[in-house]
Amino acid sequence: MLEERPILQVRGIRKRFGDRHALKGVSLELYPQEVLGIVGGSGSGKTTLLRILHLEEEAEGEYFLNVPGLEGRNLLALDRYQVPEVRRWLAMVYQDPSRGLRMDFASLTSVVEPLILKGERLYEALVAQGLEALELADFPLERAGSPPKELSQGQRQRVQIAKALAKKPLVILLDEPTTGLDLLVQATFLDTLRTLKRRLGLSMILVSHDLSVIRMVADRIVVLYEGEVVEEGLADQVLEDPQHPFTQELVGAKL
């Protein structure tokens, strides 16, 4: 009814690790300027799904990004050398910052790395864009020269966000970005995500086991359970009128 098309769409994603079926046919859509929350327990397959979306993991099924040059192409069937072309539209924020950042070098270095990969060589331009991204991420600029290993966990996650933003992606994938942060740091971090979504019109997929994190930012929620989507809906709907036994238990445990 709305003419809007999803910016990201997956259909029937399957993934096996040996005999274990991690994902058993997952389908979902992400719309422009939307935060989609994926909630699930450990072993639900949520991190695996995110890694597949970031093309870090191969899988069966279909995966489409609605961006110029990629429309109608199944990204799971691409050759390896085409992966960078897809990745330029995507950014990933990891639970463990050392997976996304160079812990021993100035934070600014990590932030501008995707720009260098994109071909930017001018030192002044790199610094300017890096600082701009750090500022958008609400990172204290006077610490831009400090390596992530000397920063707090909350600040490291902001450097990861800045690195994601510097790339000017269409979709940011976040894997448990606030796990391990204390509550106040978590709240201000999620507040930054909400502001960025509104100001920059970004779309995000946020994976978390924590319903209270998801409810603070998600427009819609997908519930993963043992490798399957067992429920999806508007955020308030899934939280207030959960249908599946797992979701009812999860919501019940929260209230």
Binding site: M1, L2, E4, Y31, A187, T188, L190, D191, R194, R198, M216, D219, R220, E232, G233, L234, D236, Q237, E240, D241, Q243, H244, P245, Q248, E249, G252
Partner: protein
Amino acid sequence: MLEVIHLEKRFWLHRLKREVTAFSGVNLRLEPGEFVLLEGANGAGKSSLLRCLYRTYRPTGGEAWLRTPRGRWDLARLGDREVLWVRQNVMGYVSQFLDPRPRTTAVDIVAEPLLWQGLDENQARRKAASLLLDLGLRPEFLNAFPYGFSGGERQKVNLARALIRDYRLLLLDEPTASLDAEARKALRQRLEDLKRAGTAILAVFHHPEDVEGLVDRTYPLEAAEYVDLRSEAGSP
């Protein structure tokens, strides 16, 4: 504006292996500018009906046709994306309590629906502040986080968020329960203006005298039966 046909809501509680009927067989018509008050005892399903129309709950049967600028849509079957659009453009809802977002100020909570509409941030904040002050919020609270507010102050923020836009349909769930006399008067005035401008209102009021003279009709809801599936084999 809204036509509800045989609407029903049942909850299936897995842990209790039990089905609970919130309401069933609701038939209701609401014209533009009409104010209908829902009546019924505790547990009759008044709040559930409003939540089903706002689609916080998923109706389990029946229809609810809403007139929108994009056509006549059945809220009972509408896709999630369309529901979001309806919430941002056609229909407002006020719950009994505000569930404040951490680290968001009162003004920003109220200004948000104006940003959806495309207003710039400064304009939106000015309008939001002015409505909050009309409802009697103390000026020093405008840029504070509502987590520390009293129940009444929070409710002013909650109300203002729904009243800031001229929605065509307003759903109000006991919005005055925690309000002082001044705020009730301001609310009444705002509802009167909206009604005159053609907004349809479906509401539950704990103290119907708050909206005396505005109500066109009342709609009675009767308490639905509780069905315990453990003892009644063969129930739906």
